[in-house]
Symmetry: C2
Subunit: 409 residues, 2 copies
Amino acid sequence: MTKANAVIGQSGGPTCAINATLAGVIDALLKSKKISKIFGTVNGINGILSGNLKELNKIFENKENLSLLKNTPSSYLGSCRFKLPEFEENSEIYEDIFASLKKHNIKYFFYIGGNDSMDTVMKLNAYAKKFDKGVTVMGIPKTIDNDLFGTDHCPGFGSAAKYVAASVAEIARDAYCYFVDSVTIVEIMGRNAGFLTAASALARSENLCAPDLIYLPEHQFDVNEFLSDVKDKIKKHKNVIVAVSEGIKNKDGVYVAAASDVLQNDKFGHAQLGGAAKTLENIVKTEIGCKCRSVEINVLQRAASHFASKTDLAESFKIGKTAVSYALRGVSGEMMIFERENGENYKIKISSMDINLIANKEKTLPENFINARGNDVTKAFINYARPLILGEEKIKTKDGIPVHLVLKR
Amino acid sequence: MTKANAVIGQSGGPTCAINATLAGVIDALLKSKKISKIFGTVNGINGILSGNLKELNKIFENKENLSLLKNTPSSYLGSCRFKLPEFEENSEIYEDIFASLKKHNIKYFFYIGGNDSMDTVMKLNAYAKKFDKGVTVMGIPKTIDNDLFGTDHCPGFGSAAKYVAASVAEIARDAYCYFVDSVTIVEIMGRNAGFLTAASALARSENLCAPDLIYLPEHQFDVNEFLSDVKDKIKKHKNVIVAVSEGIKNKDGVYVAAASDVLQNDKFGHAQLGGAAKTLENIVKTEIGCKCRSVEINVLQRAASHFASKTDLAESFKIGKTAVSYALRGVSGEMMIFERENGENYKIKISSMDINLIANKEKTLPENFINARGNDVTKAFINYARPLILGEEKIKTKDGIPVHLVLKR
């Protein structure tokens, strides 16, 4: 049997589980007799184009490195935001990519990423099939936003959700210590999908009612309803905790954040947000006049691997491994997915789905996860999200700080 | 032997170690034969004035609650920002306080707090002595700012420092994933004392150079030097991480944060800060023109007990216990302190110091902890701070979220 080489790339915004998936792919490839060299493409598709491919075999024959990789946040191989043009618009870039793959005898291409990365997977797979390139192209999901279509949930979401929920609980404890009316507004990531903001509800327990209010991008934001909701809650108990998505919009579809920040567009045409909580803080100070603080959890919600979900990391690793077994038996042009099995206990099955059914679609919170007034989530959401945040990892630390694995550039 | 009662209060900004100190005080009081009832005064001195005292004995005879208390962030008893007037200005409030103490047969008063709380300890002790009230008043330090005079370091600082350092490391990993010039500015708490901002340097390891630059309130901030420093670092490696104190000031003594926020004053005359990083973000975008993001770690640096320092919690507990043994043998009007012993290995001794030598003084970073250019810390600071962040606690979780102990109000 002639052995072939494989390449793995990471793309889009980092998470603290994307490296667990990478570890799963590497682990399975190392164990396969069909695979010789395992390459990592540095900064996503850019590494293939520039020839910046790193051989990973030796690094990860050391099992300790594989274990460290699982608990390292962000993208070990670096990431990119690279919009592949349509083949009809620019065939040269496709020729360059496949020339590079051929040069390195690469027959398997694994791309771990979000919506935009799945667009890349779809296009490369179509090209490979059209021109009979003999390259298997597989997508593996990751995103803290949990907005990929076709999968029950995305690797990376559970860890971000756990960190958000734990942080909201801690922020609430902090707010409760003073006996004065106060509003604390916590801003959470998610442009169009409110899953992560909704996950703040997982902070609640028998002795914590925070967050009191949750505003999601799926529900039109009304500032008067918001003020009325907040006033009601202050009356009940002095310290009100509000979770708000960065992506909440008013009835005209204008981002609340836009009131304080000039909107900029990234290469994919997404608005760069930030500032919804700050805008609301100013509104509360003016209209209610009580103490108000806004807290942006910011990039820590996707980078805080020191409190990742054990369930999420285990699933992320496993979906990476399974992607390899699918690819090696000839599956191409698919994204790996989680399917939740019916029954009382949480159980998932890993399979795959045609990438054409997934790419460039965006999943948002289903209606039954949002309450009628649009200021909270439902029990159905809690049941959906709770299993994803369970368990903690034992993190390796040195000198009091988590140890991360770093690729030598 | 006639038994007496004791009261404990918590005051000032919360930390994630202040409850460990409370646990230490409670543990020692429960074990003492001289003590009958242990009261917690709700919201600091306010609870004594309003009669809102909670009996703690039963709650903490359950050892599991004592253990949970150690890992609960914020102030279990609630806090206050209450400036006690001078006795000469308002003797009535002193009479009310001591009447309440007498009514409850309280002979021991423990106050856990920062600078302002030590002012309260000093005044109450002076009054008790002057009028022979027979009440022992003891102060126990806590502050994430580490700015209390007389003690090597403050309970609470180590945990905040650990969280800041780990978060800066994670923020850096996140920033490094894109291969574009970028500046990330992390804002850290500390009005006048730069200890916590300096602690960001503890993020550095053999594979992490972040933070590249550290700006402290002790050193006059020059925006041109800042821009020149940042440009130099970008040339060396594309992604620059800057740690900046909320309290940096320019040559005229004006807060950098003031450029973007209207300054408000709290009851103690401290400026309410926030926004130094945002101001600098805007300056970098305008003057350098590269990608720039500001991250405020915000209240999580004082509330994130899920990643507290084991050393800090153990010391915080022990200083609470020792405060009781000092008080029971007749010491009054003192604040408990840590003294670092000489020698290669970190070792502390707990003792106490006259509160009059401590109250209303503020400790800032000594000169030998700051480099000549004022954009970094020295090895001496690392040696000072490193031992304080060592070790992690095994946190109790339920449903994926840390369990906190809550006082029924």
